[in-house]
């Protein structure tokens, strides 16, 4: 299936699926195109960035719209997929140009459903936490493994970008149908759907799950208990009033004289304070994981090819998919894989890379170094992938993209995978 055919520079008569990875810096923007009897079909996976690449996100939006404009001047996309609401996947939709683009369907995870109570719960909690963390990081009152700057970045990434979400929920031309997808709506283990705008294409949805267990990742307990300490009206930490009347207090100096055996030295006092605080970093990391956990994990079956787009799905979703025999089979047949979460450790389980992913599969990674994530992309992961396949393209190192398999141009890398 993955025979090494040299591609002609001119338009080829071999039917192929074209996947274009736009260089958004740190973020995702992938356009899938394939020929169909009624004309070219186009699916856009995400469009966003938190750190620009060689072009701004608005320039990328222009490129995308230009690529989807027909000869008659109409911009058309059959399906727009927003895998999850992180800014680095949706910020590009905050752009007026989208109003003129005709879209057939918009796919989002079930956690984006406007009225589903569980979905609202999850969204509300994520927003409260993100908002609060941002306030706190601004005052510098944080400790722990993450710096205030990092926490602020994470919070910003998580805070809903209202304009972008508005476009996704209510924008675009052509009055597109909005679909909120889940891996297991009716108790089946993996959802298989079709779409009117993509005839003869089957779609598997492997995430997000509706299972309570997996949902817990989206609403982490540490976040819940942390929020107890936050004043819901002001978003600040609750004022910590003394728990007892002042008359029960003894001045430290007098205490040291009267009860010398049970004085607490400064080091211990500081240690106690430290052990109780510094949760902000953990909570920030947990929210980041939570929002990633809402990612759509989609496999498109076009002809004989199967294209895996896992968004930024984390271990919870992956584990559920890998444990499920049907889903595992689907994953093992993937011809193409967009690497999850910009090459982070949690989004590409070792089991998947070593035992499931096909040898010589096409792999594309949209990533770039950012300070708050020193471990993205994860070097051992990239090394393992390079050993598995030579069809590997990463947007942060365009010089390493093999010209044998990919077409690189300014601001984009394209793979053409033959359909036959």
């Amino acid at each position: 299936m993955c025979a090494a055919t040299k591609k002609k520079k001119k338009t080829t008569t071999t039917k192929a699926v074209t996947i274009t990875m736009y260089d958004v810096g740190f973020g995702d923007c992938f356009l899938v195109r394939f020929p169909a009897p009624a004309g070219e079909k186009r699916i856009l996976f995400d469009c966003g960035s938190i750190k620009a690449g060689t072009a701004t996100i608005d320039d990328v939006v222009s490129s995308v719209i230009s690529d989807v404009t027909d000869a008659d001047g109409n911009a058309k996309i059959d399906v727009v997929v927003a895998t999850h609401r992180h800014k680095d996947h949706v910020s590009g939709f905050d752009n007026e140009a989208w109003a003129a683009v005709e879209v057939g369907e918009v796919w989002m995870p079930w956690t984006e459903h406007p009225t589903d109570p569980k979905a609202r719960n999850i969204r509300d909690r994520m927003n409260s936490l993100a908002l609060h963390l941002q306030t706190l990081a601004g005052t510098g009152g944080v400790q722990g493994p993450l710096t205030p700057a990092a926490i602020s970045e994470i919070a910003l990434n998580a805070l809903s970008n209202e304009a972008a979400m508005r476009t996704l929920h209510r924008g675009f031309a052509g009055n597109p149908r909005r679909r909120f997808l889940a891996a297991n709506n009716k108790g089946e283990s993996m959802a298989t759907i079709t779409s009117d705008v993509l005839p003869s294409v089957t779609i598997n949805v492997l995430g997000p799950s509706r299972d309570e267990e997996v949902i817990k990742d989206m609403d982490p307990p540490v976040g819940q208990s942390y929020l107890r300490l936050v004043d819901d009206t002001t978003g600040n930490m609750r004022a910590t009033l003394p728990p007892f009347d002042n008359d029960w207090t003894i001045d430290s100096g007098e205490y040291a004289i009267s009860f010398p055996e049970i004085v607490v030295n400064d080091a211990d006092a500081a240690a106690i304070r430290r052990s109780a605080e510094g949760l902000e970093g953990i909570v920030a990391a947990a929210i980041d994981k939570a929002v990633n956990g809402t990612s759509l994990m989609i496999v498109l079956h076009i002809g004989k090819l199967s294209l895996l787009f896992p968004g930024d799905a984390q271990w919870g979703t992956w584990n559920a998919a890998l444990e499920n025999p049907d889903a595992r089979d689907v994953l093992s047949e993937a011809t193409f894989c967009k690497l999850g979460h910009h090459g982070s450790h949690n989004a590409s389980p070792v089991d998947f890379v070593e035992h499931v992913l096909q040898k010589s599969a096409w792999v594309m990674v949209s990533t770039r170094h950012v300070d708050q994530w020193p471990n993205i992309p994860r070097t051992p992961l990239m090394t393992a992938l390079a050993a598995k396949t030579d069809k590997l393209a990463r947007s942060d190192k365009p010089q390493t993209v093999p010209v044998k398999w990919f077409k690189s141009a300014k601001g984009r890398t394209t793979a053409e995978i033959p359909l036959t």
Partner: protein, 609 residues
């Protein structure tokens, strides 16, 4: 003015201190409401107390690190307080909080002392006693901190919009929950006996810590018979249904598991859970559910005759109030059974290996320890326990069947006796510390390695240590230790137990441990091996409980066992990595010690892991 006194008043009879000190506590978590009958009287061993209260093993220090202030320490020897058997339970007086923390912590310790047959000590190089901070910080958390050798209890404000049974914005104190205090105290006790259980070398280790702490809290609560009596009468549900006891636990504010453990006790036990559940608290609650299951079966057996008598053989109890005599007897049976189970669970501790514990190891320890004390299993405790573990898919490694004989730990082959005649001082110290009326707390020294320094030796006399070291090295093969590596003597102490038939059992327990270095895939933890020896009073080794390293010389089957352990440890690190959201944020330096960073209870109890 010195008043005159009769000579007899100086006699031992007149001078003797009372054995017990009455105190009062909140029986159910005030976080869950203010029901009448919430306050009960308990009693603890009487010891000399200074303000705090500070005794020989526990010091309550009311320092608030968030407010940076001290609250006044209570003097429990104040005549006014003694007269009423302790301060009246109240949320607004910090002195009562100190009293309650002391009372429940001491009750927990007493359960350990009694079941283990020795007094647990917390004295270390840097600390004289275990410290308890009832209002340590502002936060919705409570945990044991091994570095500080302290229990830290937080306090926080109830939600304004969703306060539950509290007033909106009211302060909630974790130190007023019996279950939380007992749970944290157990962590401290476990850490004292097996400090290496703090290292998460496999997926069961931290879950065991959590599950065992829940078990002690739960069954200690059930042994408060006054409380049971009131609740049994109040709930009025079928007393031979498990729901009643579950409701009790929920009402008690079975705080740490949020009732989760008992929920799973009621569900049909799923043998697949043990192999699929990975989260620490959930895994721990499988253990709790198994023990609760066994407890309930035994309790049912014990009340069967009472029901027969009360219902004339029909088994149909009245819908309205139950006869108070019946309630009293049933409550006694439940409390007695709870105490038996608690003792059984704690006693099993001595029969655990020094490192890398699994639930399967604990089952073998339970069976072996109980077999030693009650060979005939008259109460059916062992059979119930084995069945409960089996139904939840918990199978020990390297065991051919679940028959009792197969579950016992290995008896040694040819092993010379431990030269105990060279260790009389040790034995006498043990006798003194366990016997009533002879305790001189300041003389007692702990007999285990101070857990603060993970590679430290047991604080035993040089002579004893040398004797044991020599013995271990000379018999390394039979003890499954590697003579080519340093063997640390981690502990050596005598235990004294009384069987139900009145017979006294004396045993000696020795622990040896060693390690080898590992690479980055272990996240900063070494690979450890070790052996626990159970020795009879004459020096004959009765059981060898070994977790060998993978370095020779050992038999093939043992090598296979060691390699499995190694693999399991690596897999656990990978599992933690996959699920850890902080990993992407860590640089190489932090990564090298990432498993160490995952070791603390603060994060575990905050719901982070």
């Amino acid at each position: 003015m010195k008043s005159v006194r009769a000579k007899k008043e100086k006699s031992q009879y007149a001078q003797a201190q009372p054995q017990r000190r009455p105190l009062r506590i909140f029986a159910t978590d005030p976080m869950l409401g203010r029901t009448a009958g919430n306050r009960i009287a308990v009693s603890v061993d009487n010891e000399r107390l200074s303000p705090g209260p500070c005794g020989s093993r526990i010091s309550v220090i009311d320092y608030d690190a968030t407010q940076r202030r001290y609250y006044t320490p209570v003097d429990l020897d104040d005549p006014a307080i003694l007269m009423t058997g302790g301060l009246e339970p109240t949320e607004s007086d910090p002195r009562f909080h100190q009293q309650m923390a002391y009372a429940v912590a001491m009750k927990t310790l007493e359960n350990f002392d009694r079941a283990l047959g020795r007094r647990l000590q917390f004295r270390g190089k840097r600390h004289r006693a275990l410290r308890i901070f009832p209002h340590a910080f502002y936060g919705a958390n409570a945990f044991y901190d091994d570095g500080l050798r302290a229990l830290l209890f937080g306090y926080f404000s109830a939600d304004r919009s969703d306060p539950g049974p509290n007033l909106p914005g009211q302060t909630v104190f974790t130190c007023l929950s019996h279950d939380i205090i007992a749970h944290e105290m157990t962590h401290a006790a476990v850490d004292r006996m097996r400090p290496l259980f703090r290292e998460p070398s496999n997926i069961d280790v931290l879950a065991f810590h959590e599950g065992f702490s829940d078990i002690v809290a739960l069954f200690q609560h059930f042994s408060l018979v006054d409380l049971l009596r009131d609740e049994i009468q109040r709930t009025r549900t079928g007393i031979s249904q498990p729901t009643m006891l579950v409701q009790l636990a929920r009402q008690f504010g079975y705080a740490t598991g949020s009732g989760r453990a008992l929920r799973s006790a009621l569900d049909v036990p799923d043998a697949k859970l043990y192999s699929t559940v990975t989260e620490t608290h959930q895994r721990g609650s499988i253990l709790v559910a198994a023990v609760f299951d066994a407890f309930f079966k035994i309790y049912q057996k014990r009340i069967r005759d009472l029901i027969r008598i009360a219902t004339g053989g029909t088994g149909n109890l009245p819908d309205a109030d139950l006869h108070p005599d019946l309630v009293r007897r049933v409550a006694n049976e439940a409390a007695t059974t709870a105490q038996y189970i608690l003792n059984m669970c704690i006693r099993a501790f001595e029969y655990l290996p020094p490192v890398d514990v699994t639930f399967g190891d604990y089952l073998r320890a339970l069976v072996t320890a109980d077999y030693e004390l009650v060979p005939d299993d008259e109460l059916g405790q062992r059979a119930a326990m084995i069945e409960a573990f089996r139904m939840r898919g918990i199978y020990p490694d390297e065991v051919t069947s679940l028959a009792e004989e197969s579950l016992l730990w290995e008896s040694p082959g040819d092993l010379p006796a431990v030269p105990v005649e060279q260790l009389p001082q040790m034995l006498m110290q043990g006798v003194r510390s366990f016997s009533r009326n002879t305790t001189r707390p300041d003389e007692e020294t702990p007999q285990e390695a101070d857990g603060q320094d993970e590679n430290s030796e047991a604080d035993i006399s040089g002579q004893t240590s040398a004797v044991l070291q020599q013995y271990a090295t000379a018999n390394a093969g039979a003890l499954f230790l590697d003579p080519g590596r340093k063997i640390s003597v981690r502990g050596f102490h005598p235990v004294f137990r009384v069987a139900p038939n009145g017979q006294l059992h004396v045993e000696l327990v020795a622990q040896f441990a060693q390690l080898r270095e590992t690479d980055d895939s272990f996240g900063g933890l070494p690979f450890r091996g070790g052996t626990t020896l159970i020795v009879a009073a004459d020096g004959r080794v009765r059981y060898v409980i070994a977790k060998p390293l993978d370095t020779p010389p050992i038999s093939d089957s043992r090598l296979r066992q060691a390699r499995t352990r190694l693999e399991r440890q690596k897999q656990f690190v990978a599992l933690c990595d996959a699920a850890d959201p902080v990993l992407s944020f860590t640089d190489d330096a932090a990564q090298a010690s990432r498993m160490r960073a995952r070791m603390g209870f603060a994060m575990l109890h905050a719901g982070v892991y």
